[in-house]
């Protein structure tokens, strides 16, 4: 930790994350359902006052832990992402910490699916575990490739190492796999099998009221954080002409976030076992070859 954490940054981080999460939800409302920009606010108000519906003999402790840990994981992951060169928490292994916090989503979904004591959420939870095993290795290899090219696991240094050439230009496979795994980690769009319609809403089927609000807000927050992390990893951080670093970071985050949100209305849901096939047979060799190419370039 080279410099002390400014106190206002710790307070500002949840607010910034909340603002970005709201804009992701608003983009989803505009792109997909055509409800308008204020629709997420109406949905928030509706869910806060809705009465909680309880199932028969749930494991309430596990449900609460599952529902609360999803937005908490997003907030903890956002602590290492740099805006203007330095994140709130200057961890030297920020990339691994980001990976660890998004794995907390596995625990959240399984706990929520198990705790409500109902069949469809349980099946959704198991689907997410299977999908998690599938996407995790390609995701880790994509992160390792970016760290390998920068020679560091610190987000700030990875962003700074893209001075001459952005990583997305010479490791496109890693960037594509990262975006795919961002979809998978937030069970969004084509990889939303755990919350799909054939399970009547899957993991979130029995959630209502404030639980549902926290769960889906956490999902949008995790999507936002994944988009924000793509910027220092592959898109050069805050680099750009005329505007200051933090403005460029925000613009790039919005661009990636818009792309990720737009994907939901465009592609059908992929069945999780077919995705496992593709992940193990195609994505892992592809990311390994990408890492090999990057390694050769770095060593020579």
């Amino acid at each position: 930790m080279s410099e002390a954490m400014p106190a206002w940054a710790v307070v500002a981080l949840p607010l910034v994350l909340a603002a970005l999460t709201y804009s992701a939800a608003a983009m989803d409302a505009v792109f997909r359902t055509g409800d308008g920009l204020v629709a997420p606010l109406r949905e928030c108000a509706r869910l806060i006052v809705q009465q909680r519906r309880r199932t028969y003999m749930p494991d309430l402790l596990l449900v609460r832990i599952g529902v609360i840990s999803l937005p908490a994981a997003a907030l903890l992951a956002a602590m290492v992402i740099p805006i203007d060169g330095r994140g709130v928490w200057d961890l030297s292994v920020g990339v691994v910490w980001f990976n660890a916090m998004e794995v907390v989503a596995w625990a959240s979904l399984w706990l929520t699916g198990w705790g409500v004591n109902s069949v469809f959420p349980l099946v959704g939870g198991y689907r997410f575990l299977a999908q998690g095993l599938a996407y995790e290795l390609p995701h880790m290899f994509a992160l390792i490739t970016a760290g390998l090219a920068a020679g560091s696991l610190d987000f700030g240094e990875v962003a700074a190492a893209q001075d001459g050439l952005w990583f997305v230009v010479w490791m496109p496979v890693a960037f594509a796999v990262y975006l795919l795994s961002a979809l998978a980690m937030t069970f969004w769009g084509p990889l939303g099998h755990p919350v799909a319609g054939d399970l009547a809403g899957g993991v979130a089927a029995e959630l209502s009221g404030p639980d549902r609000l926290l769960f889906f807000a956490g999902r949008f927050a995790l999507l936002t954080v994944a988009a924000a992390a793509a910027v220092p990893l592959f898109l050069g951080g805050g680099a750009g002409p005329w505007l200051p670093g933090w403005a460029w970071s925000l613009i790039k985050t919005y661009a990636v976030l818009a792309l990720l949100v737009w994907v939901r209305g465009r592609f059908p849901v992929i069945r999780m076992d077919r995705f496992m096939d593709v992940a193990w047979m195609v994505l892992i060799p592809a990311t390994l070859l990408q890492a090999l190419v990057v390694g050769i370039v770095v060593v020579s």
Binding site: M57, D59, L61, L62, I65, L91, S92, V93, V96, W97, N99, A100, V103, V104, W106, A107, W110, L111, W114, N117, Y126, L129, G132, E136, L153, D273, R274, D277
Partner: protein, 175 residues
């Protein structure tokens, strides 16, 4: 401040470890074990071992979730809906473990530990990476082969196909 954190995390880790064998619900037992591991991971972070601490947190969350899947599969009281203890030789095991703890504690306080040699490097992650790629390359190779052997052995053990059975047909395009 750090001393307080170390003590709180230590008590929490041991408490969660005891809770693993005390709670009725198997799902809660698995997540109590995960909580114990997370406390140990944060303790490693407090010991300036950034990479290893975050690695323990990352890997243990994934492993405990896989263990949760197997627990639900094989254990008879996953929801904890009825009180149950399934132990054998409870008093003997308690006696042995308390005896081992007192012996270890006596050894800890009576052994003259050597003084500190050297200082914490500026980047412990870099030093461990350099070590396993350089002087300790043998460790890396052995671990790699052990992982490969485990992957092959566990798939062979867990598949339900016998030696002479034909592979099952692909039915209408899906396995």
């Amino acid at each position: 401040m750090e001393t307080v954190a170390v003590w709180v995390l230590a008590v929490a880790a041991v408490g969660f470890g005891v809770a693993v064998f005390v709670v009725d619900s198997m799902a809660r037992a698995t997540f109590a074990l995960l909580a114990s591991f997370l406390c140990v991971g944060v303790e490693l972070l407090l010991l300036d071992l950034d990479y290893l601490g975050v690695l323990v947190i990352l890997m243990m969350i994934m492993e405990m979730l896989i263990m949760a899947v197997f627990m639900i599969m094989y254990m008879m009281n996953p929801g904890g809906l009825m009180p149950m203890t399934m132990v054998h030789n409870n008093r003997g095991a308690l006696a042995i473990s308390i005896g081992v703890f007192t012996a270890l504690a006596a050894g800890i306080f009576l052994t003259p530990w050597p003084p500190r040699r050297g200082t914490v490097p500026a980047d412990p992650t870099f030093s461990v990476g350099q070590a396993i790629m350089g002087p300790k390359m043998l460790v890396m190779m052995v671990i790699g082969i052990a992982i490969l052997a485990t992957m092959i052995a566990s798939v062979v053990l867990a598949t339900d196909r016998g030696r002479y059975d034909r592979p099952s047909h692909r039915e209408d395009g899906a396995k």
